[in-house]
Point group: C2
Chain length 137, copies 2
């Protein structure tokens, strides 16, 4: 999650909503990404989506059943759906996202996915709050 937070800081520096993600396989990071919806002018360019695509390229397989996704903020509906298609069995996130997170719609992850929440949650949430506080100024 420290590496995902580093990715979130890259997003912050580029005036993107500061969310970062990494994909881990066999205790190795195989993909890193941060949100790039502004730069790419593309709502699908969330950190998780970019990380899943990069991880699939890395392993040469669209299914990532043995991988873990670490993401600084609770995934949205779109990203949760993508993790389900990729058959990800483990999703770890930092800060809750009550408004845009997937959780208020039920479990949209893979039925067999394990979820771990609150990992470095304070730091992951703080960078988001700082970003939106600056935006409002």
């Amino acid at each position: 999650m420290r590496e995902a937070l580093k990715q979130a800081r890259y997003a912050f520096a580029e005036e993107e909503i500061p969310i970062g993600a990494v994909v881990v396989l066999d205790r190795q990071i195989i993909a890193r990404a941060y949100n790039q919806t502004e730069k790419l002018r593309d709502v699908t360019a969330h950190a998780e989506m970019l990380a899943l695509t990069a991880a699939a390229n890395h392993v040469g397989n669209k299914y990532l059943s043995d991988c873990t996704l670490y993401v600084t903020v609770e995934p949205c509906v779109m990203c949760a759906g993508a993790t389900a298609w990729a058959q990800l069995r483990r999703v770890v996130y930092g800060a809750d996202e009550p408004k845009f997170g997937y959780r208020r719609h039920g479990n949209l992850l893979h039925p067999k996915a394990e979820v771990v929440t609150g990992v470095l949650g304070a730091e992951c949430g703080e960078i988001m709050r700082e970003f939106f506080a600056r935006k409002r100024k």
Copy 2:
């Protein structure tokens, strides 16, 4: 929807699950795509996702509020979430998808989105059934 169905046929010919999508703005098609999850080995390469990204590139804006998405099959959770982020106000689809469609999770589209279902539904469903019947052989 005829053009979306044509896109679905391209997918079929390439042994992809045959789903096609187009994005329309001011009665003009500005993006066309078909499912390419096999070729790209990427679960995020659904027809709708590729069409939304292409449409955003075309208009130079990640928000597609004035656009309509036509897709041959009821979108999945991931794609529904993407249309919500893109603020799409109109989604038209052909065949229902009771298992993988977004609808069983509630309304995951943009809150202001209008949905039209069943357009060329028989043809859109038939190409799917034919694809999976061949696969089973």
